[in-house]
């Protein structure tokens, strides 16, 4: 029995929350406000995972410089997720490849999955929030 199942059977219900990030970080507010929900969810002792797909992979790219657009660079927050026990970060392989990116361009350790693996992972979730 893993930790999640043990918690689920012994007391408060633990659900699997997945946050699907699909947008580039600064063109819209979705990426930032998604991160805010993730941090709150982490405080509820739920099973949290993050997925980055389509332009969402740009949220994790190293070396973001936002001074010229006058918006706060919130990408360091992804590095802080580990401190909240949010360690399951999954990135869509095709989304990376289509944008000429690879795992080494990203600022945090991730697991790269193909579409089929991603689909299987999504099917296991209780709550999926898509941003």
């Amino acid at each position: 029995m893993n930790e999640v199942q043990a918690l689920a059977s012994s007391g408060p219900k633990v659900k699997r929350f997945m946050f699907v990030n699909r947008k580039a970080p600064y063109g819209t507010i979705y990426a930032l406000e998604s991160l805010e929900v993730v941090l709150i969810t982490a405080t509820f002792d739920q099973d949290v995972s993050l997925v980055f797909i389509d332009d969402g992979v740009y949220e994790l790219v190293k070396g973001q410089q936002t001074k010229a657009i006058g918006i706060k660079n919130f990408s360091p927050s992804y590095r802080a997720l580990e401190g909240y026990d949010v360690e399951k970060l999954y990135v869509d392989q095709a989304s990376l490849a289509e944008r000429g990116l690879s795992e080494k361009d990203l600022l945090v350790p991730v697991e790269v999955l193909d579409a089929q693996q991603m689909g299987q992972l999504m099917a296991q979730q209780d709550v999926i929030l898509s941003f």
Partner: protein, 119 residues
């Protein structure tokens, strides 16, 4: 079944609020429970009583208020998203309340299904 709803787009610009409302009405009519409606992103703009659409159009905000009054549906506006967009207690329409993102997580935990209305 117990449903939590998430509305993540503003009124009139996007169908999210209309679809969520129609879903809530249909679910209640079939005896389901709407545990909460949570308004996030530009969805917080559904909560201002300053909204005044033309008279021949639906009133998206008042419709939510009426639903809250008739069925005691909990309408919660995210405080951080609201403050960013100028939505405060003094402009809230009846039936809405401002609270934290924890209320959305709580919906995810307590509802049988959390249904998102947005892009």
């Amino acid at each position: 079944m117990k449903f939590g709803l998430l509305v993540s787009e503003g009124p009139y610009t996007h169908q999210a609020s209309d679809s969520a409302y129609q879903f809530a009405v249909a679910a209640l009519a079939r005896g389901h429970e709407i545990q909460r409606v949570f308004f996030y992103h530009d969805g917080v703009n559904n909560a201002t009583r300053l909204t005044e659409p033309p008279q021949d159009d639906r009133h998206v905000v008042n419709r939510w208020s009426a639903l809250a009054a008739d069925h005691r549906v909990d309408l919660v506006v995210c405080v951080a998203a609201a403050l960013r967009r100028g939505i405060k207690d003094e402009v809230l329409a009846p039936g809405f309340r401002i609270s934290g993102l924890g209320q959305l997580v709580d919906s995810g935990i307590k509802a049988d299904r959390l249904v998102t209305f947005g892009d």
